[in-house]
Amino acid sequence: MNTVARSERWSGYALLTVMAIVVVIPFLSVFLASLQPAGTPVVGLTWPERWSWDNYETAWSVAGFSDLIRHSLVIAVGVVPACLVLSALAGYALGTMNLPGGNAVAAFFIAGLTIPVELIVVPLYFDLRSLGLTNSYLGVILVEIALFMPFSVFWMRTHFQSTPTSLVEAARIDGASSATILVRILLPLARPSLMTLGLLVFMWSWNQFLLVLVLIQDTTKHTAPAGLGFFVGQNSTDIPTLAAGTIIVMLPILILFVVFQRSFIAGLLQGAMKG
């Protein structure tokens, strides 16, 4: 019995390790390629003879990845706080106030959860162009907020529904206004939920591709993924620089993932379950 359990335990680890290797190899391959001397042909997984970080410098300054990163940050900085504020307000009302028709409104938000970008991107280009909002970060920011609103409202509504009603009732009896209840009592308690939501929204904003490709046709204004997608079409043979650029585009989200992995994983799994 014991030996069976032990062998099962080790076979479990063996399985996990094999899968982990499959996950890691692509990342490792890109990382090693990014350290090869620029302009050399690179074969698969090869340990660089000498580690050269020059490719990162090339990608960062010559290939313009520093601009791409900056543009992506501008958009994320616009999207994340707005998403948090709007969804906290809406989630608060839809989660605690028992609004007439509130469930229908919530359902209307939830219906947007499966909207693919493809469904809205074509008219958006023409509509925003007539408003002068193409090739503009504001246009992308507004659309991303709208795209992430169904999940965000749903997430915050679920959070506020789970806070004990006695808290709100007690404050209401003390004569606190609905705004005071939200700001003084509920928001401080909502900090973990808001943080997880903020991380998810940042990630979705950072990774957004099709929308940016359409709304920002001016390649000098591209975001990190759009710029990388464009770069690979232009310079697909310069593997070391391309690899360095790929790492640079992944790095901000990787750092966040390392630092906040608990929030991230919980958010991704719960977010999927709730949606």
Partner: protein, 304 residues
């Protein structure tokens, strides 16, 4: 005694006030609703409207009714794209779910220390931009990439090729990228679902002498119904609405072997000046997604 009427009066007034303030709560909903409506709902409706026209994006459009929809079902390339998307469902959805279930079955019986590190690695493909994933795999699948390197190392030089340029292999190669991205998510969903299972169920099964397979089928699987529905929904949507990975790895090629609807919506509207047709394809794609999501949730709920 005399204090009663005022109290009732106050109650009535406060009930009235609450009636009004119940509507007043919508002030909080309004900003979120306005942005969502203006930049997501209206464009979606506008797409449906555009799908009824033949329009090049510049001159005046011509009303063609459902003509664009008819073209989707007749045009071989458009039909091909829908077919390709359904093939991708196998690799984005079916295979990751099978991998997730099998590994969950093998891992669920014991708690293992060190799971945190594995969890981190398995979720990694979920957080990085799909464009970066696509660029990475483009290089792995290349002539000098890791995939061919592995085949050469085991003596199968004959099968090496530029996988993404190969007529027979390209779609499968793209599909396997999806498998790589989504398997970890499915596995983590199922493993976290298993942790909610009452351990006494496993003990009971073990006392009854159930082996791993039996235990999995009669204890684990029924408890994972919710997680299964979620995994199917998320991965199927990822397959049908796929764009980033395909655009970066093959851009639909070779020929139209890996063309997917998302790619065609983009190409038709912004390179070929067929805005109405692109809109119709987007509508068909969305209806397909909605139907499948509805079906999955319906089925998973029915069995409960």
């Amino acid at each position: 005694m005399g204090s009663r009427p005022p109290v009732r009066g106050r109650e009535a007034r406060s009930r009235q006030a609450r009636g009004r303030s119940r509507w007043r709560g919508y002030v909080y909903v309004l900003p979120a609703f306005a942005v969502y409506f203006a930049f997501a709902v209206l464009p979606a409706l506008h797409t449906a409207y555009l799908s009824l026209f033949e329009w090049d994006g510049v001159t005046l459009g011509d009303w063609v009714g459902l003509g664009n929809y008819a073209e989707i079902f007749q045009d071989p390339i458009l039909r091909r794209s829908v077919f390709n998307a359904l093939v991708l469902v196998v690799f984005f959805s079916f295979v990751p779910i099978v991998i997730g279930l099998v590994s969950t079955g093998l891992l669920a019986r014991y708690r293992r220390p060190g799971m945190g590190a594995y969890r981190f690695l398995f979720m990694l493909p979920q957080v990085v931009p799909l464009v970066a994933v696509g660029v990475t795999w483009r290089w792995l699948y290349g002539d000098d990439g890791v995939v061919n390197q592995v085949f050469r190392a085991v003596g199968l030089d004959g099968v090496t090729r530029a996988w993404l340029g190969d007529f027979g292999a390209a779609l499968i190669a793209v599909g396997l990228v999806g498998t790589w991205v989504l398997s970890g998510l499915c596995m983590m969903l199922f493993l976290s679902g298993v942790q909610k299972v009452d351990p006494s169920l496993y003990e009971a099964a073990r006392i009854d002498g159930a082996g791993p397979v039996r235990e999995f089928v009669s204890v684990t699987l029924p408890q994972l119904r919710g997680e299964l529905a979620v995994a199917m929904t998320v991965t199927t949507v990822a397959a049908l609405a796929s764009f980033d990975i395909v655009y970066v790895t093959t851009n639909g090629g070779p020929g139209e072997q890996t063309t997917v609807p998302g790619l065609l919506v983009y190409r038709l509207a912004f390179s070929e000046g067929k805005v109405g047709l692109a809109a119709a394809l987007a509508v068909v794609l969305s209806i397909l997604i909605l139907a499948i999501v509805y079906l999955i949730n319906r089925l998973s709920r029915d069995r409960t």
